[in-house]
C-alpha cells in the first residue's frame, strides 16, 4: 500500500500533454467525472497541454494528422449528417483554413450531440477543486509567463507532479 493516508479519498493523477481540441477532452472529462465521484484530482499540464491553461482557449483540431477522424457535417437531414466525407489528405493539407473549418465543424457537432465545451469542462474542473499544475519547464521553453495562464492553476515541475502521483490510485498520461 503506497498511500500514506489510508483514509484519504481516491486520487486521480493525470498528465495532459496535448493541446489540440480532440486531445483536450480526455483529461477534462476524466478530471470532472472523478471530481464528481468525490475523488481528489490533479492534472499536470505539460508541453502543448500547457496551452489548455490559457484564459482564452484556442484548441483546434487538424484532420491531416488524424487520418481516422470522421469528417461529418453538423447540419442538414440525419442521413446527410451521417455521411463520412472522403476528403483526400492532399486537400486537407493544402486548402487554406481547412483546420479552422474542421475545428468549427467538430465544435458544432459536439454541441449538437450534447457534449460540453472545453471551456465549460475546465470551469467545472475548477469548481470541483481539481488541482491544475502548469509545467514550469514548458513555460521556459516556449517563453510563457505566469500571467499568461488562469489564476486557478499553480506552476510546478516534474517533482511536484510525481509527489502527488505517488499517492494516487489512478495515474494516466494523456
Amino acid at each position: 500500500m503506497s498511500k500514506s493516508d489510508p483514509n484519504a479519498p481516491k486520487r486521480l493523477a493525470l498528465i495532459a500533454s496535448k493541446g489540440t481540441l480532440d486531445w483536450a477532452y480526455p483529461p477534462f472529462i476524466l478530471a470532472t467525472a472523478a471530481g464528481a465521484m468525490g475523488w481528489e484530482v490533479g492534472v499536470f499540464f505539460t508541453f502543448y497541454g500547457l496551452t489548455l491553461l490559457k484564459p482564452k482557449l484556442t484548441a483546434a483540431v487538424t484532420p491531416v494528422g488524424n487520418p481516422a477522424m470522421p469528417m461529418k457535417m453538423p447540419f442538414g437531414p440525419e442521413g446527410f449528417q451521417n455521411i463520412n466525407w472522403p476528403i483526400p489528405q492532399l486537400i486537407m493539407a493544402n486548402v487554406p483554413g481547412f483546420n479552422a473549418l474542421a475545428t468549427t465543424l467538430m465544435k458544432q457537432t459536439f454541441e449538437n450531440k450534447g457534449v460540453a465545451s472545453i471551456e465549460e469542462l475546465r470551469q467545472m474542473a475548477i469548481d470541483l477543486d481539481v488541482r491544475m499544475i502548469g509545467c514550469q519547464m514548458t513555460m521556459d521553453v516556449f517563453g510563457f509567463k505566469r500571467e499568461d495562464f488562469i489564476k486557478e492553476c499553480e506552476i510546478g515541475g516534474a517533482a511536484t507532479f510525481l509527489e502527488y502521483a505517488a499517492d494516487a490510485d489512478v495515474q494516466l498520461f494523456i
Binding site: 481516491k10 472529462i29 470532472t32 467525472a33 471530481g35 464528481a36 465521484m37 468525490g38 475523488w39 450531440k113 450534447g114 457534449v115 460540453a116 469542462l121 467545472m124 470541483l128
Partner: protein, 79 residues
C-alpha cells in the same frame, strides 16, 4: 414497483458524458441526507456510469429504469 417520491428533479436530457454524473453530484449536495433525487438522462452511458458513481460516492441508487426512451434514476443522499 413501489412508488418513490423525489425531493428534487434533475433533467440531464440531451447531455453526454460526463455531464449527467457531474450535474448529479452537484445536485445531490443540495439535498439533506436521506432525501431523494430523481435524475433523467438520455445518454445510453448513464446507467452504468450512475451505478459506478453511486458505488464510488456511497449515495444509494434506489432505482434505475428506462421510461419512454429516457433513463430515470432515483438516488438517495446517504452521507
Amino acid at each position: 414497483m413501489d412508488v418513490l417520491k423525489e425531493d428534487q428533479v434533475l433533467d440531464c436530457s440531451g447531455m453526454l458524458c460526463p455531464m449527467p454524473v457531474v450535474k448529479t453530484s452537484k445536485a445531490i449536495k443540495t439535498l439533506e441526507v436521506g432525501q431523494v433525487l430523481k435524475m433523467i438522462a438520455t445518454d445510453p452511458g448513464a446507467p452504468p456510469d450512475m451505478e459506478a458513481w453511486s458505488r464510488q460516492t456511497g449515495n444509494e441508487l434506489l432505482r434505475s429504469t428506462q421510461e419512454d426512451g429516457k433513463f430515470v434514476f432515483y438516488i438517495r443522499r446517504s452521507k
